[in-house]
């Protein structure tokens, strides 16, 4: 197996998933790249996360938000369907809905389950499910959007942030879009007390729906929400806007969304290619993702994107080999991601999180490094033991230079700068050659390997995917 393949496979798994262990990478790299992409695009080929275990140990779906966040991170780490989980996070970024307003765990969890179910389907289906989602309806006040008193909030954001972007529609389009969604609401859920949360469902109230003639983006008729979604998906602005979202999330950091009407795309040709795939497939997200992952612009975009806190946390956990079973520590992992600036299920506004360099400030960087270093602070962790075992398998004693090379390779492979490599080398040289000949020597060597892995996860480069 060529090292280049492994490095490309690692890149794919960092972007299309949340990283991979060395053993997983070696297994995955046995397949041609294009086949690997097809596997990712077809999550149904692989089993779901074992929900009975989550239900047994973490009491899903009656959990709190911290437990639900822990469960989600558990899924990111342990899923056999990494792209499904990554797309779920993507849609959560784009259709940002916050628990701070919703105050209903069940509705939030069900919204994210809906993103998971629709992760790679057609945008029409995705927007339809979104428009019928009780959490979204409440978040953007569509439950207050009545036939005789419209509320434009959902109609406006559907166009501005969820599909087309500013500058591609008029104020009248917004009004008529809102009118088309009157009567799209949800059934009153059973109150939290005294029996805990109950789910609620979408409800269409004919008597509260404006069934008059409307004109939306040049099309006139007795339009309702479904017609509006059909029209939106046919717009080339939608193809470009969704493509840019996908590029920003999977390929390279773009400007923040509100600037998109002004700032040109970072790679216009890439957006053209993705938009073309969108239009020729009538908005099929799987088709767009196939073009994206197989493109040269994707393959070349290594280490050019700042990891979100969720990506960092899940990646470090995969490296450490921990949290392979449901456990109480998962809540703390969710808290760690929140301290880094990403409270899952609770994005700051409807714009979602600001990404790229905005993930990193002094405080957040501290949290990121501390979390990563702490996770690797125990040589008994399965991921560290596996790397130590692989290094020990080289036999004899290992020179400091080779030790650094192996750590960088087995932890990723990670692309580290000269300065980081130098620092690691100085540390490695201070301890001399690595030996596993006696029990004591093996234990000392394991601690040195773990320390070098801590150097790697604390490095600037490790913040990049």
């Amino acid at each position: 197996m060529a090292a280049q393949d492994l490095s490309l496979t690692a890149h794919l798994m960092r972007r299309a998933g949340f990283g991979a262990t060395r053993a997983e990478l070696e297994r995955l790299a046995e397949k041609p790249y294009e086949e690997l992409v097809e596997d990712l695009l077809h999550p149904e080929r692989f089993p779901e996360v074992e929900r009975d275990l989550l239900d047994r140990y973490l009491s899903e779906p009656f959990a709190t938000i911290p437990v639900s966040v822990g469960i989600w991170i558990y899924r990111m780490v342990n899923t056999k369907r990494p792209l499904e989980e990554k797309m779920t996070l993507f849609w959560h970024h784009v259709f940002a809905t916050g628990f701070s307003k919703i105050q209903n765990v069940n509705a939030m969890v069900r919204q994210v389950e809906s993103f998971r179910r629709h992760s790679l389907s057609n945008l029409r289906g995705i927007l339809t499910a979104l428009s019928k989602d009780p959490a979204m309806i409440f978040w953007l006040d569509n439950s207050e959007n009545h036939r005789d008193e419209i509320n434009e909030n959902y109609g406006r954001e559907l166009l501005e942030l969820f599909s087309m972007g500013v500058g591609n529609y008029s104020e009248d389009d917004i009004k008529n879009c809102a009118k088309a969604f009157t009567g799209w609401t949800f059934a009153q859920p059973i109150p939290l007390y005294p029996q805990g949360e109950f789910p609620t469902e979408f409800e269409y109230r004919t008597d509260d729906h404006d069934d008059g003639v409307k004109t939306f983006l040049g099309e006139t008729g007795q339009l309702d929400g479904s017609h509006v979604i059909d029209i939106i998906v046919r717009q080339s602005a939608t193809a470009r806007f969704v493509s840019r979202h996908l590029y920003n999330f999977f390929v390279a950091d773009e400007a923040q969304v509100p600037a998109w009407s002004e700032a040109p795309p970072r790679d216009p040709a890439a957006i053209d290619a993705l938009a073309k795939a969108f239009e020729s497939s009538n908005g099929d997200i799987r088709s767009v993702m196939r073009v994206l992952f197989n493109s040269d612009f994707f393959k070349k975009a290594r280490y050019g994107k700042v990891k979100s806190p969720a990506e960092l946390v899940a990646g470090v956990i995969k490296l450490a080999g921990t949290h392979t079973e449901p456990n109480r520590g998962l809540e703390a992992v969710g808290v760690a991601a929140a301290a880094m600036g990403q409270s899952l299920y609770d994005p700051p506004t409807v714009e979602g999180w600001h990404t790229g360099r905005e993930w990193i400030d002094g405080g957040a960087l501290n949290e990121r490094v501390n979390f990563a270093v702490d996770e690797l602070d125990d040589v008994t962790r399965p991921g560290i033991r596996d790397i130590v075992r692989r290094i020990a398998a080289e036999g004899g004693s290992l020179a400091p230079g080779r030790l650094v090379e192996q750590c960088v390779e087995l932890a990723g492979p990670v692309q580290v700068s000269g300065a980081t490599r130098e620092a690691m080398l100085r540390f490695a040289q201070a301890g001399g050659e690595l030996s596993f000949e006696s029990e004591d020597a093996a234990e000392r060597s394991a601690r040195r390997v773990a320390r070098l892995l801590q150097f790697i996860v604390a490095s600037r480069e490790y913040q990049l995917a």
Binding site: D52, D55, R56, Y57, S59, F62, A187, Q188, P189, I190, P191, L192, Y193, P194, Q195, G196, F198, N327, R328
Partner: protein, 339 residues
């Protein structure tokens, strides 16, 4: 008490609901004392409820005990609670891998167990049951076996291994021991209940995966009453199923809850939830959601910890024991003549 030859099953009506959210959050099991019920919450808190619920729950003798933590007398992932003849409480903890004994007031008495797969060690001890000598059986869930101990934690015997053949197990959970010493195991991931002798010899099994009558979806709890009837908390199917001592399916319970006194008091002082409740259907509010355990007392009252809806539902069995002179022996074949 000798088992009856047969039963005239008159009925098994719903009686009442105990607890509510805030008091019995995520209840996983209940220990039945004389007039007092110790409801074990997954958080580690043990709520103390009275049969004659007057709506109070956090005053005097009713103050909750224990709590969340790894220290002595607290719990991280508690699974089962038992009360012994000395009226002290026993709690298994799947996270700390310990069995802990506390008083009814929550004071720590003793503990035993640690993580491992050898004799006397556990990986996720979940179900527990006493035999008539007060030795305790423990389902050592992630080790896929049952262990038997004295009350002070001395290992006596063990059986079981991972698998789905007779006598093998896949993450066993609830346990019960009948008055003859037979041991019933909710074999969680095999979707069945297995019956063993006191020494672990396989006797019989009930159920298979599914949602039809007599089938299970991840059974969590099991109980046996003085008639030999077997109750199974069929959590994944949101129900409790009842089987005769021969393993014949008799009936199922899906939940009939009404408001407990404390829940009624809460609602009457909260105008918003009161209105919202009025806007919704009562139907789903009655039903079990992921019932975790089932217990039967010596008055044949069935207590179901209705975890998802944060309460305990109580039913009362109404059955007449029959002697052989009152009922014909079982025929070999059915008959269409039923008059």
């Amino acid at each position: 008490m000798a088992r009856p030859y047969a039963l005239l099953r008159a009925g098994f009506p719903y009686v009442k609901t105990l607890g509510m959210r805030r008091v019995t959050n995520d209840p996983v099991d209940v220990a039945l004392d004389d007039g007092m019920y110790y409801v074990l919450n997954r958080s580690g808190i043990i709520a103390r409820l009275q049969w004659d619920d007057d709506g109070s729950w956090d005053v005097g003798d009713l103050k909750p005990i224990a709590g969340s933590g790894a220290e002595d007398g607290k719990f991280l992932w508690p699974a089962t609670i038992l009360i012994d003849r000395a009226r002290t409480l026993w709690v298994s903890d799947e996270n700390t891998h310990r069995i802990t004994n506390i008083t009814r007031e929550g004071e720590f008495i003793s503990k035993w167990g640690e993580r491992g797969d050898g004799e006397g060690r556990f990986d996720g001890p979940a179900g527990m049951a006493f035999d008539s000598d007060e030795n305790v059986y423990v389902s050592d869930s992630r080790n896929h076996r049952i262990q038997k101990y004295t009350k002070d934690g001395r290992f006596i015997l063990q059986w079981g291994e991972f698998g789905s053949a007779e006598g093998q197990m896949n993450m066993p959970w609830g346990l019960a021991v009948d008055e003859m010493g037979s041991v019933y195991v909710a074999d969680w991931r095999n979707d069945r209940v297995q019956k063993f002798t006191a020494e672990g010899q396989f006797l019989s099994a009930i159920g298979r995966p599914g949602s039809d009558d007599g089938e299970f979806n991840r059974p969590t709890g099991v109980a046996v009453d003085g008639h030999g009837d077997v109750y199974v908390a069929d959590a994944g199917n949101d129900r409790v199923q009842l089987f005769s001592q021969e393993g014949r399916y008799v009936e199922k319970f899906i939940g009939d809850a009404s408001l407990s006194k404390m829940a009624r008091d809460y609602m009457l002082t909260n105008a918003g939830p009161l209105r919202q409740r009025e806007m919704t259907s009562l139907e789903p509010q009655k039903r079990f959601r992921r019932p975790r355990s089932v217990r039967v007392d010596d008055q044949f009252r069935m207590f179901v910890t209705d975890m998802g809806s944060m309460r305990v539902q109580v039913y009362q069995k109404d059955a007449e024991p029959l002697t052989p002179d009152l009922i014909l022996p079982p025929p070999r074949s059915p008959s269409l003549v039923t008059n």
